[in-house]
Symmetry: C2
Subunit: 342 residues, 2 copies
DNA sequence: GTGAAAGCGCTAACAT
DNA sequence: ATGTTAGCGCTTTCAC
């Protein structure tokens, strides 16, 4: 082969240039929407781009611009657990929606074990993405450390458990849980149980802490028999509810720390022949399809997911534009959504 | 600035070279595990890489190699629907696991609407990924067309509905559904209903076709009253089951086309006071947490997900290595998993 | 407004 | 076994 005639599959900038009868620089300007181009030239280039079906080569571009226009959402989760969580789906949806208006693309990266975590660290360091949003942190997660030390702009979804200095966006989990518990207290419930999430995750811990604090503020002593835990999933909620019923059949309310667990708990209650909400009142966490499909629909604590995703992106973009931007953290309010009984 | 001293943040190949006292080429050889390097040089380079924390720049590398070592799993789904499907989680898990042994990385791309589909098409064309596995195809999906015409190596998960010539891997959905239905017939069930998936998806269509063909082979005429549909999700299954019970309270079995829908159907049956499996027998599709957590565990049709993901990757890598490799298609057997009643 | 030229950091012949 | 050299396709001064 002589010059660049190797693979006719992908047209290059100067093929467009010669077809349009201008220089590479001009084509580049048109492609990048520079104002310093005459309408005539612009039109000629556009036409050439069209005929050749030209698409700029990202590698070449980011080699010089040092940007990829890609941000990653990293899911650090051992099992496939996370995928079934509507919370996760909402985050993806929110980020996608915000990014749709820009020319950046969202990619999802899953790290199920240590090996994959390191692989993702390398991926980020190699400059494949401009920034990272990190989701679902267990206390033993290596990724925050790996990514933080790799100088990749980083925003966490959820406050880091180890007090590390990183930008993050979180919901007021403790406040929401406390509000839910107070709601049950105000109904006159006296034996209020809880199904917690994993206690090595900040959302699990904070929601449990909120439940306890509301109980204590009301002068109640939390009863260990009324506490059980799941993994935020439906099956876990079902099992936890069964155990609670075994240990404390006299319970009259449950604060459940996630929507799928609430759906599971509801099944267990029905299987045990308990009536909801008269006999046992249930409050879930997180507005989601399952809670809304219940009959009657569950009262839940709602997080402002749209606001949270917008904030994550805002914080991340700030750090991408300015590498030395200060660490910023945001905590979003949660609120109780009471649903009319059917 | 004079030469390349701009950002000391990212060391380059020749910084490593001069520190190690060798040429760039040698460093490149070491980094790429070429055997043609002396142990001495190799060690010197390794040390320099270590001190400088050198990581190769992916853009520069793929500019010359024309590879990115990245494959994308593209999820084409209007809602957040897909994420809650355990089938999807298993696919991700399987692909991740296979890729973990290689130096390729898996990225997930979500296309929720037309705009995002086009964006993903561009992303692929720009050379960000070496190949694409495309999941969850509705009949009106634009992505197969967009990607096929963009010359990106492509493998579909599921037979394309329009008969387009593309490589794909599919499960024998019709065969599995027929086996499930025959199983119910063999039990002496006479009023066998079905909850179908979306009928604009190949998995939905094929499973419904399998149900019908088994019925017809047994000399039964399918009764429209015994057919209802959901979106593969739990809530959809619950609602479909309620409708079926309204229309045909005498039904004595249901073949449900997905695991979450089966869980939903089970709830609806219990709410209606029907006993499972004595009163109404249930067969689900897809081994998944919900079906296994049922009491008694559901009999289900299992797809060989591990085998399927391995095949997808195999087909895709073949097309990546050799752009002119022929279109290949695989259909994997499914089989009935009978679970002992509790 | 437009073109010429210099690289971005890397790999891959080709010499040695 | 190692160094030299020539680009990969693009953006971006800097002249004109």
């Amino acid at each position: 082969m002589s010059s660049t005639a190797a693979r006719p599959g992908t047209p290059t900038l100067d093929q467009v240039a010669s077809l349009a009868g201008v220089s590479r620089a001009t084509v580049s300007r048109v492609v990048n929407d520079s104002p310093r181009v005459s309408p005539t030239a612009r039109e000629a280039v556009r036409a050439a781009v069209e005929t050749l079906r030209y698409v700029p080569n990202r590698a070449a571009r980011s080699l010089v611009t040092r940007r990829t226009d890609t941000v990653a959402l990293v899911l650090s989760e051992s099992g496939t657990q996370l995928f079934s969580d509507p919370f996760f789906a909402s985050i993806v949806q929110g980020l996608s929606a915000h990014l749709a208006d820009t020319d950046r693309t969202l990619v999802l990266l899953a790290a199920r074990d240590r090996r994959e975590q390191e692989k993702i660290g390398r991926y980020a360091r190699q400059g494949h993405v401009d920034g990272v949003i990190l989701l679902s942190l267990h206390s033993d997660d290596l990724l925050p450390g790996i990514l933080a030390s790799s100088r990749v702009p980083l925003v966490l979804s959820g406050r880091p458990l180890d007090g590390r200095e990183v930008s993050y966006v979180d919901a007021d989990n403790a406040g929401g849980a406390a509000a839910a518990t107070r709601h049950l207290l105000a109904q006159g419930r006296t034996r209020i149980a809880t199904i917690t999430g994993p206690l090595d995750m900040v959302a699990g811990l904070d929601r449990y802490a909120g439940y306890r604090s509301a109980l204590e503020a009301a002068g109640r002593t939390p009863d260990p028999d009324l506490v059980d835990g799941g993994d935020f999933g439906e099956v876990g909620g079902m099992r936890a509810m069964s155990r609670l019923l075994d240990r404390a059949p006299d319970l009259d309310a449950v604060f459940v720390a996630s929507d799928p667990m609430a759906a599971g708990a509801l099944q267990a209650l029905r299987t045990a022949g308990r009536r909801v909400p008269d006999d046992v009142a249930l409050v879930g966490f997180d507005d989601a399809p399952l809670a809304q499909a219940c009959d009657p629909p569950l009262t839940t604590v709602a997080q402002p997911l749209g606001e949270m995703t917008a904030l994550m992106l805002e914080l991340l973009l700030r750090r991408i534009e300015d590498a030395d931007a200060p660490v910023e953290t945001r905590v979003c309010a949660t609120h109780l959504v009471r649903r009319a009984s059917a």
